[in-house]
């Protein structure tokens, strides 16, 4: 999981380094343990740190640049004539050396599932989203001054630019000072990542042909249809599960409450590397609001369940604050299989839903009941039947 961005100014009076910096902050929910940029000012200038974009100390200058935030320390790649950032899995990155000479052929020969943004030493920005469409990529501009490519439109918005459109699966974009070309290199397959819809993307995003907030509210409504529960309050786990709670509350008429508040900056529990951090993360992150849950039958909604550890803590803290019952709803179908495309879904043996029955899971996490959004419901809400649900069914659209 990663966020990538590229910015090219048509006039060299601009220094784009701060634009990259803030765009990356707008993408750090996609992964943040390593971040870096490459700036072009005649020569490539590379800067990378084992930190989130926010904490990066960026000094370089350039009229064009690319940036990366994610868990791979290898990015940005810098070769002699080209620098590249990748979201996803690219199996033959060495081929990228030939990108400036023959972009079309090189991109067609890349193997994996990915989106990328490259910057050539000559000053062209090349963006490509592979035909699966597993990784998002959006094209935008800033006034008459810059072209911008980013994983999500929100990164373009935070720097004051305007997102124009999503790059289609299989489409290549070349941004030159004197022209912008786009070409479909492969037939799009629209295997959009279900995880991007369900919790990866920001709610102010428009990703994979859908408005994320509206879609997640509809998931909440779908949950209400599939699993109506007698409860007194609906509580979403911040931040990603809040729209589910809004939808569930809207559909059932059960009031919504803010059951948790956050301590410290938003660290994505699922992205934390070891389990100790996860426990500390969740405790630091979420403090229960007692008056919201005391004496109530709580319908708790979360976005996903991996090992169940996070949820166990969450349920426990609700009970300690006086919840009478805790019914857990998950806004995505069960995660039962790994992701070969770089999303942090562990292998089956580490996934609670792949190993235990619903009753067992409810007991482990201490909930009165547990329910996952059905696969059918997910398809219904998203409305695109080619999406990738590999981690939910163990069958994958693209062989790696």
């Amino acid at each position: 999981m990663a966020g990538i961005v590229g910015v090219l100014a048509f006039d060299k009076v601009w220094n784009v380094s701060k634009f990259l910096y803030y765009a990356l902050i707008g993408l750090q929910h996609r992964g943040y343990s390593s971040s870096g940029v490459v700036l072009l000012n005649g020569e490539f200038y590379k800067h990378r740190e084992d930190k989130s974009p926010e904490d990066m100390r960026l000094n370089g200058e350039g009229w064009a640049g690319i940036g990366y935030t994610g868990k791979e320390r290898a990015y940005p790649l810098v070769y002699e004539d080209v620098a590249v950032v990748v979201d996803g899995i690219l199996k033959n990155p060495e081929a990228l050396r030939r990108l400036p000479k023959d972009p079309e052929k090189t991109l067609s020969e890349l193997e994996g599932a990915f989106s990328l943004v490259a910057l050539t030493r000559e000053g062209q920005m090349i963006a490509y989203r592979d035909e699966s469409g597993l990784k998002p990529l959006t094209l935008g501009g800033f006034g008459f001054d810059m072209a911008i490519v980013a994983s999500e439109n929100v990164a373009i918005n935070v720097i004051g630019g305007e997102a124009r459109r999503e790059i289609s699966p299989g489409e290549m974009i070349i941004v030159d000072k004197y022209y912008i070309d786009s070409k479909r290199l492969k037939e799009p397959r629209r295997n959009y990542c279900a995880i991007d819809y369900v919790y990866q993307s920001r709610i102010d995003g428009k990703i994979n042909e859908r408005d994320i907030y509206a879609l997640r509210v509809r998931i909440g409504e779908q949950l209400a249809k599939e699993r109506p529960i007698q409860g007194d309050t609906v509580i979403g786990v911040p931040d990603t599960a809040l729209p589910f709670a809004v939808g569930y509350s809207r559909a059932t008429g059960i009031p919504i409450d803010l059951g948790f508040t956050r301590t410290g900056s938003p660290i994505r529990t699922m992205l934390a590397q070891d389990s100790f951090l996860k426990v500390v993360g969740v405790q630091l992150k979420l403090n229960v609001v007692k008056s919201a849950v005391f004496g109530k039958r709580v319908i708790l909604i979360d976005d996903s369940m991996v090992t169940g550890l996070t949820l166990k803590n969450t349920v426990m803290s609700l009970r300690r604050a006086g919840a009478k019952e805790v019914h857990v709803l998950i806004g995505s179908p069960k995660l039962v299989s790994h992701c070969p495309y770089g999303v942090d879904v562990p292998k089956s043996s580490d996934l609670i839903a792949a190993n235990l029955s619903d009753e067992e899971i409810a007991k482990v996490i201490g909930a009165n009941s547990i329910y996952w959004l059905s696969l059918k419901g997910l398809y219904e809400v998203i409305g695109i039947n080619t999406i990738c649900v590999g981690c939910m069914v163990g069958r994958y659209p693209k062989v790696m």
Binding site: D11, W14, Y22, L139, Y178, Y179
Partner: protein, 477 residues
């Protein structure tokens, strides 16, 4: 009857086409190079083509005396600024085109804004004028809000514009780039007032062209111009890479009331110009508008002529005799004009050689060829812009070379025709054009709806057009 047309671009080509189509006129033209499209219409009507310096009032007079036309039509703004229309009137010949004084409405942005405030014309924006760049830069520093920085008068044909849309955390970068550009822009301006800074507004843009003889006003169908050089509305500012018009008199994202309000603004402005200069305004006056949350219809700038490439979208839709309408405007009988318009929408796609607009030298001197008969078969019309007939070849002169126009029942249909016709143009350089024009109607409808919520709310609250900024040192603006 003899008509003398001044100008050399695609807009003049479209005017030449409609004058020749009338069948009542012999077309004479005066251009700075031989535009093959204008030439075709001159030849067809047994007129004569003159080439020379159209920016020189004396040269224009010389051509007038050779042709002794019954009336004249002036296409571009620069000859108007230099008194081309005055040259006609001094010889007692009626002409479509305002006097040099009246064309100040386009030439000077400060004069224009000042006029709008003085006469309380709706759709006006707050502005500040600066004689020196240091003061302008200081003002930019002081008022953090979103502003547009423009040269106080037209420089080099295009209105260079920098917008400082200031996100707090990016303000340094944006201001630094803005102040560097202020220097660049300001150096080119000859007037005492160098820079004008306006409050920045947002929303969908459109143009209303109004033809007037000073007494009657004839509004044309709306058009929308696309300024970004490259596909998807990205890239540097150009004179316009294409335009759309229709269906009917409005656009899908501008409603009837907004059309009427815009017409009222343009009319009031023409009347104010007359009061201010003493000159009857005869010719086109065109509001380059934006639908904003502040006013609804808001003036970004005025043209003292037809827009280019807007003209190429509008003129082919006119089914009545446009040549005659021009004559009636020139001779003060516009109230007799009958304008009939094809209700179907049109799209213009401009085609430019690689290098436009950032490197004109790169864009110059390239060869272009096109299959006109086949285009006609498909249903496209081609107007020639910055392209000169030289030794039997079509040679680019550095700007937008061609404008292709298609009319169809729907925008989708017109776009498809243009896609086919674009493939019939070839060159020894890469060609730059936008295939997204006419394909973004829905987004613009939504954009318009968003600003409409706000400006209608302003009407309800009685604060339409009211806005101000404050800074600790500068006070209220």
């Amino acid at each position: 009857m003899k008509v003398l047309l001044i100008g050399d671009g695609a807009r003049e080509n479209s005017l030449a086409f409609s004058i020749a189509k009338s069948g009542r006129y012999q077309l004479y033209a005066f251009s700075s190079y031989v535009n093959p499209g204008i030439k075709e219409n001159v030849d067809k009507t047994n007129g004569k083509y003159f080439v020379g310096d159209i920016l020189s009032k004396d040269e224009v007079k010389r051509v007038i005396s050779q042709v002794s036309p019954d009336f004249g039509v002036i296409g571009p703004e620069d000859p108007l600024f230099n008194g081309a229309a005055d040259a006609f009137r001094e010889e007692g010949i009626p002409v479509v085109g305002p006097s040099s004084k009246a064309s100040t409405i386009e030439k000077s942005k400060v004069w224009m804004r000042n006029l709008m405030w003085k006469y309380n014309i709706p759709g006006r924006l707050r502005y500040r004028a600066f004689n020196n760049l240091a003061d302008a830069a200081k003002f930019v520093e002081e008022y953090g809000g979103s502003i547009a920085i423009k040269p106080s008068e037209q420089v080099g044909g295009k209105g260079v514009k920098v917008v400082a849309d200031i996100q707090a955390y990016l303000s340094q970068e944006k201001r630094r780039a803005a102040s560097r550009s202020v220097d660049e822009i300001g150096r080119l301006v000859k007037d005492e007032v160098k820079i004008i800074i306006e409050e920045k507004v947002d929303g969908p843009e459109y143009t209303l062209h109004v033809l007037t003889d000073g007494r009657s006003f004839l509004p044309l169908p709306l058009a929308q111009d696309y300024k970004h050089a490259y596909q998807d509305g990205i890239g540097p500012e150009t004179g316009g890479m294409g335009s759309i018009s229709g269906p009917g008199y409005t656009l899908p994202f501008i409603d009837e009331d907004e059309y009427k309000a815009t017409f009222e603004i343009v009319k009031q402005t023409a009347e104010a110009i007359k009061k201010e200069t003493g000159d009857e305004y005869v010719g086109f006056i065109s509001g380059q508008m934006m639908l904003t949350e502040l006013w609804g219809p808001t003036v970004i700038e005025f043209y003292s002529r037809l827009g280019d490439p807007e003209a190429s979208a509008i003129v082919p839709r006119i089914t009545s005799d446009f040549g005659e309408i021009l004559e009636l405007a020139a001779t003060g009988k516009l109230n007799k004009a009958k304008l009939e318009v094809d209700p179907r929408p049109s799209i213009v796609r401009a085609i430019a050689p690689l290098g436009y607009p950032l490197n004109r030298d790169l864009a110059k001197g390239k060869e272009i060829s096109l299959d006109l008969p086949k285009m006609k078969e498909i249903g496209c019309q081609a107007f020639f812009g910055a392209i000169s007939l030289y030794g039997g070849k079509l040679i680019t002169t550095g700007s937008r070379a061609l404008e292709l126009v298609a009319i169809d029942d729907t925008y989708e249909g017109a776009v498809k025709k243009l896609d086919l016709c674009t493939s019939l143009v070839s060159s020894n350089t890469k060609l730059i054009y936008r295939t997204d024009i006419g394909r973004t109607i829905e987004e613009q409808v939504e954009k318009a709806e968003i600003v409409r919520y706000s400006y209608k709310d302003r009407i309800k609250r009685g604060v339409l057009g009211a806005s101000m900024d404050w800074s600790p040192n500068g006070g209220l603006w």
